[in-house]
C-alpha cells in the first residue's frame, strides 16, 4: 500500500467531482449543524433543570380572610393551625430540607420588589397577600408526599409546586429539541442518499480505472479505499463547518444575546460544545463511510 498513490487518487477524485463534493460537504454541514443544535438544546435543558430544581420550593399558602377555598371555610388561619403545620413540616425531615415562614409583611415586601416598575403594586395591599411556608425539598421530585400531607387541610389554602411551572417550560424546550432532532435525522437521510448517488457517479466516471485495477489484481480494499476516503474527507469538512456553526451559536446567540438578556438562569457552557463536536465529527465520517462502503460493494464488484 502506497500512501502517496492513494492520497493523489483521493485529491484527483475530489477535484473531478467538485460540484458533487461541494453538495456533499454542504448537506453534511447543515444536517450535522442541526443535529448539534438539538444536542445543545438537550444539554441546555439539563443545565437549566440542574440550576432550577436546586432552587425550586414548595409553597404552602395559608388561609387569609376572604379566601374561598373549602379548607378556608372557617376564616383566616389560626395560630394553632400555623404552629401545627410548622411542626408537621419539621417532622418530614430529611425529605424537607428547609422550612421558611413568610409573613404577609414579608410577602408584600417581596411583591413590591418583584414588580417595582409595575403600576400593579399600587393596587395591592399587604392584607391581600397570603402568608406562606416555603419548603425546600431534598429531592424535588418527592413533591407529592408534601402535597398529599397538606393539601386540603384546614387553614391551608393551596399547596404549590414551582417545579410544575418549570416543567411546562422544559417540555416546550424538549419539544423544540425533538423537532430539531427530527429535521436533523431527515437531513441526515438526505445526506446519505446524496452520498450514495455521488459514489455511484464517481464509481461510474472512474470505471475505466477500476476495471483496469481489477484486471491487474488490485484488492477490493485498494480499489475502494480512494472512494471511501473521498467520502470521509468530504464528510469531515462538512462536520468541520457544522462545528464552526455550533461554536458560532454558542458565542453569538447564547453568550452574545441570550445570556445577557436572561441573567436569572444558567446556560450551557463550552464543555457542552466540546462534548458535542467529536460526536458530530464521528457521526459525519461514520455515516459517509458506511454509505460509500455499501454503495461501492454494489458497483465495484470483483
Amino acid at each position: 500500500m502506497r500512501a502517496s498513490f492513494v492520497t493523489s487518487e483521493v485529491g484527483a477524485g475530489l477535484r473531478r467531482n467538485l460540484t458533487m463534493t461541494f453538495a456533499v460537504i454542504i448537506t453534511v454541514a447543515v444536517s450535522l449543524a442541526l443535529f448539534g443544535v438539538s444536542l445543545l438544546v438537550r444539554a441546555q435543558v439539563t443545565t437549566m433543570q440542574d440550576f432550577w430544581y436546586d432552587k425550586v420550593e414548595v409553597s404552602i399558602f395559608l388561609c387569609s380572610r376572604g379566601s374561598d377555598a373549602p379548607s378556608c371555610a372557617s376564616g383566616a388561619v389560626t395560630d394553632a393551625q400555623r404552629d401545627q403545620i410548622r411542626a408537621d413540616l419539621e417532622s418530614l425531615r430529611p425529605l424537607v430540607e428547609e422550612v421558611y415562614y413568610e409573613s404577609k409583611a414579608e410577602a408584600f415586601e417581596r411583591f413590591r420588589e418583584q414588580f417595582a416598575n409595575s403600576p400593579i403594586v399600587e393596587n395591592v395591599t399587604e392584607e391581600a397577600l397570603p402568608e406562606s411556608f416555603r419548603v425546600k425539598l431534598a429531592d424535588p421530585t418527592q413533591y407529592d408526599v408534601v402535597a398529599s400531607a397538606f393539601a386540603g387541610r384546614p387553614g391551608i389554602e393551596q399547596v404549590n409546586d414551582q417545579r410544575k411551572v418549570l416543567d411546562q417550560f422544559f417540555r416546550l424546550l424538549n419539544g423544540l429539541q425533538a423537532i430539531a432532532l427530527l429535521i436533523a435525522i431527515i437531513m441526515l437521510i438526505v445526506t446519505v442518499l446524496l452520498i450514495v448517488n455521488t459514489m455511484r457517479v464517481a464509481a461510474f466516471s472512474r470505471r475505466r480505472e477500476t476495471g483496469i485495477m481489477r484486471l491487474v489484481g488490485a484488492s477490493n480494499f485498494y480499489i475502494q479505499l480512494p472512494f471511501l476516503l473521498e467520502a470521509a474527507v468530504a464528510a469531515a469538512l462538512g462536520a468541520g463547518l457544522a462545528i464552526i456553526s455550533l461554536v458560532a451559536v454558542k458565542s453569538f446567540v447564547i453568550d452574545g444575546v441570550l445570556a445577557p438578556s436572561f441573567q436569572f438562569t444558567a446556560f450551557v457552557g463550552w464543555d457542552a460544545v466540546i462534548a458535542i463536536a467529536p460526536i458530530l465529527l464521528l457521526t459525519g465520517i461514520a455515516l459517509a463511510s458506511l454509505a460509500a462502503f455499501f454503495t461501492l460493494r454494489k458497483y465495484l464488484r470483483v
Binding site: 485495477m213 481489477r214 488490485a218
Partner: protein
C-alpha cells in the same frame, strides 16, 4: 495450467448455454488460439478463466486452483498471475505510457523503486523504450496495444489472456503484435488468444481450439483457422 471439466455456463437471461459441457486442458507454456464466430463462447471461456463469471456446472481449474472454490478475497491474487490484453487496449488516456504500465504495479502496492526498475525493462521488451513519456492518444494503435501488453506482462505472469488483440489493427501491425506475443510465450508464459484473424492463425501454426455455439468443435495442435478441407 488450465483445466475445464464438463463446464456449462448459461447466462441468466438466455436459454442456450454460452458454453455447453466443455472439457479441455491447456498445458504450461502452450500458445493457444481460440477461434469461432461471434457468440460461440470465446469471451465466456476467457471470462471463466479470469473468474469474472462462474460456471453453472463443472469445474474450472486455473494455476492449480479450482476457481469456484476460491473465495472472493483471493481473486486479486489469482489475477496478479494472469496478464490480460483486449481489443480496445484499455489504457488510461490521461497517463503517460510509463504511468500506464506503472499503474498496474502501483495498485498492487509495489514499491516505487521496483516500479522505476521494471517498467523501463518491460517497455524495452515491447519496443517502446523511447516513448515512455507519450500519452496514448499520441501513439498508433499498434503502439497502444504494445503498451497494454507491457502492462499485462510487467508482473511476468504465468498466463497471458489476449481477447482479439489484433481486432483493431491493420495486418502489418498485427504481425508485430503477434511476434511480441510469440516472444512472451517463448519466455515461458502460457498465452491464450481469441481471434478472428485467419491469416495470423494460419501463419503461426499453433494449437487451435474452435468453438461453435458453446461446443468445442475442433482442437488441433499446429492447426489453421478454417477446417482443413
Amino acid at each position: 495450467m488450465i483445466l475445464f471439466d464438463h463446464v456449462t455456463k448459461t447466462y441468466p437471461s438466455q436459454n442456450r448455454p454460452a458454453l455447453d459441457d466443455v472439457s479441455l486442458e491447456i498445458e504450461k507454456g502452450e500458445f493457444v488460439f481460440l477461434v469461432g464466430p461471434s457468440g460461440s463462447g470465446k469471451s465466456t471461456f476467457l471470462r471463466l478463466v479470469l473468474r469474472e463469471e462462474r460456471p453453472n456446472t463443472g469445474s474450472v481449474w486455473v494455476l492449480g486452483k479450482e476457481l469456484s472454490r476460491l473465495s472472493n478475497w483471493k481473486i486479486p491474487a489469482l489475477r496478479r498471475q494472469i496478464g490480460t490484453v483486449f481489443q480496445d487496449f484499455r489504457l488510461l488516456p490521461n497517463k503517460s505510457v510509463f504511468e500506464n504500465v506503472a499503474f498496474a504495479l502501483e495498485v498492487i502496492g509495489k514499491p516505487r523503486s521496483h516500479i522505476r526498475k521494471v517498467v523501463p525493462e518491460v517497455l524495452e521488451v515491447v519496443g517502446l523504450e523511447d516513448k515512455m513519456e507519450r500519452r496514448p492518444d499520441e501513439l498508433s494503435g499498434g503502439e497502444q496495444q504494445r503498451v497494454a501488453i507491457a502492462r499485462a506482462f510487467v508482473n511476468r505472469p504465468m498466463l497471458l489472456i489476449a481477447d482479439e488483440p489484433t481486432g483493431n489493427l491493420d495486418p502489418n501491425t498485427s504481425i508485430g503484435i503477434m511476434k511480441l506475443l510469440d516472444r512472451i510465450n517463448r519466455l515461458g508464459t502460457t498465452v491464450i488468444m481469441s481471434t478472428h484473424d485467419a491469416q495470423i492463425v494460419d501463419q503461426m501454426r499453433r494449437r487451435v481450439i474452435e468453438l461453435e455455439t458453446g461446443h468445442v468443435v475442433r482442437d488441433q495442435s499446429r492447426g489453421v483457422y478454417g477446417y482443413a478441407r
